[in-house]
Amino acid sequence: MADLEVPKELREEAKGHDMYLHPIDKNTYELFFGPQHMATENFSVILKMDGNRIEKAIVNPGFLHRGFEKLAEGRPYFTNIALLLRICVPESDVPENIYSMAVDEIVGWEVPDRAQWIRTTVLEMARMSAWMFWILGFGNEIGLYTAGQWAAAYRERFMRLFEELTGGRVYHIYTVPGGVRRDIPGDKWLRQLRDTVEYLKGKLKDFDEILFDNYITIERTEGVGVMDKKFALRHAVTGPNLRAVGVPYDVRKDDPYYFYPELDFEVPVLKEGDSLARVLVRRYEMEQDLYILEQLLDMGPPSGPYMVQDPRLKALPRFKPPKGDAYAHVESTKGDFGAYVVSDGTHKPYRVHVRGPSQSHGVTVLEELLKGARLADVPVILKTLDNCPPDIDR
């Protein structure tokens, strides 16, 4: 607060390097953690170590930067869907949805019920498959490969359903402004989805036994990377990480969209704020997500069109929304995922700004939590924060 001036020499020094560190004295050493490292995947943390303890951590992202927001300014509205979904790879429906929601709001479209139902279902399926992927990651980091392998195999069931619904395994390009790209294939697909939900409900017990109730998992995560409530709010921590410090903030409840107001689900909250709490919140959310999917299936897809009826949609590449801007956000497994879209009345967006939850989790929060941690805690903290490097880089 005292000096508002940027130290000039620091800025000059920063220009030559991708990162800078103070010179290392006798007792400490620098450890480059990533990007060629199993735990980080295209993300790098420079650790200044004192023995086995971390004195200082400096995050060095940018290995995945493609300039999405700039590219989106050069492509028509509907083409952007195929681009922006690549921001969040394990949960690619989330960027599709936030962008579509924002454009819907700018245009003033009211998305038909059927499309809303499908979008909700797709989002929940994406959440569930992302949870499975998270178990894989977390299991691998703490050395429990069995749970991860099982989870990745269960994820394939969702991949198959996605493939049947959208035609793509990983990138679906399915949710578009005004609705969804195509209708549900039929009742058989719904039956398959129900089977998968039932199947996973049983399998969650297996995960409880092998992963969540495991003595060593609890040893490894308890008391590691503790946050308190004030810290979390000041650092814009969202999603399960925020719920693990006792703040019941969930976009699905607090800023409801689609079918969520109709659904009955709980927001699990724990108070401890350590890695174990973050793991357990995720565990309870898996249960809630399966419950939500079940309710959606009980409700059944409402009849009606799956796309907004608008004559402007006939010439998609030249589709022009009115001037305006909108912010839309959804709850992803990683946290609050938002997009801010500005339209200047032409057929390309003037500015698209995506807010990935890892922008806060992966930089300032990580740097703070790593201070004083052991080296073996780095992967645990990384994974329990559920850091997703493409969110930071975009």
Partner: protein, 298 residues
């Protein structure tokens, strides 16, 4: 000192057999883990192919003499340990206290790897070495207690005699005190062959293979061979101490595989400890059980 042709042939034959079976054990380990993970898994002879491939690398980076010497030192120690073991009716070398010799020769290979890894200059390797040495220190106490329990019960340091006594009085694990010692030894065994929850030394997600990080090509092939021999020797040591030894190689093999499977099952349901937790763990339960075992044998 006259040259004994038969001994030399037996040594060579036993080495070939041990190396081959060690590789197959490694294959069984990978295959069984894959089956637990609901996969098909690699063929059972996959480690042999891997070692061949590493031998066939056209380039071998060296970080100096010690770096090359480390793996060879480790392999030598493993082979020596193997030769002291009474495998079925072959005991190639023998001494009055071969139990102690084998028990500590089985730990020397880790020192060899540490020696080589340390000279590679990679900080991750150095961290792995640090962790490895700490694990060794930590597991020394329960390991020693388990062996003391055995020695006190049988009243001899000779492996051959221990086997013979077990043949007469039944397996050691039938004795309650030695059953406890066996539990302690099994926990230590998990750390000795580097499986979860004690694969702290390699820990791919933390220090990405640790000491092995800089090894590649022929040195890595030697390390693989060493691991195979070590695995064979350790499982055999376990079978000899607690499962009554064996009168022929087939019986030994069955017992070794049984030991191996226990290790695999434990490894596939437990995550990895951190190094300080591992040390604390070793000095807590295994040590307490070990002391009880020793007291019971007095």
């Amino acid at each position: 000192m006259n040259f004994d042709v038969r001994l030399v042939l037996e040594v060579i034959g036993m080495l070939l057999y041990a190396t081959f079976m060690g590789f197959i054990f490694m294959g069984i380990e990978r295959k069984a883990m894959a089956r637990i993970q609901r996969r098909v898994g690699p063929p059972i002879y996959q480690p042999i192919i891997d070692t061949l491939k590493l031998l066939g690398k056209k380039e071998s980076i060296s970080h100096g003499f010690i770096y090359d010497f480390g793996p060879i030192f480790a392999l030598g120690a493993s082979i020596t340990a193997l030769l002291f073991l009474p495998l079925a009716n072959f005991q190639l070398f023998s001494s009055n206290a071969d139990l102690i010799v084998v028990a500590y020769l089985l730990e020397v290979p880790m020192l060899g790897i540490m020696l080589g890894a340390m000279s590679s200059g990679n900080p991750y390797s150095a961290l792995g070495v640090q962790r490895g040495l700490l694990t060794m220190v930590a597991m020394q106490l329960p390991y020693g207690l388990a062996i003391i329990a055995i020695v006190q019960h049988f009243g001899t340091f000779k492996l051959g005699e221990i086997v013979a006594l077990q043949q007469v009085h039944g397996w050691s694990i039938l004795v309650p005190a030695l059953l406890l010692a066996m539990i302690v030894f099994d926990i230590v065994f998990q750390a000795m062959i580097g499986l979860e929850p004690f694969d702290i030394i390699t820990a791919p997600a933390e220090i990405s293979m640790g000491p092995m990080l800089e090894y590649g090509g022929k040195q890595a092939a030697i390390l693989f061979t060493q691991h195979a021999v070590q695995l064979f020797a350790e499982t055999a040591f376990f079978a000899i101490l607690f499962l009554g030894g064996a009168s022929n190689l087939l019986e030994l093999l069955i017992k070794q595989i049984a030991v191996l499977f226990i290790a695999i099952f434990v490894a596939s349901i437990y995550p990895r400890f951190t190094i300080d937790q591992a040390a604390k763990f070793f000095w807590k339960w295994p040590t307490i059980i070990g002391i009880i075992a020793v007291l019971l044998t007095v």
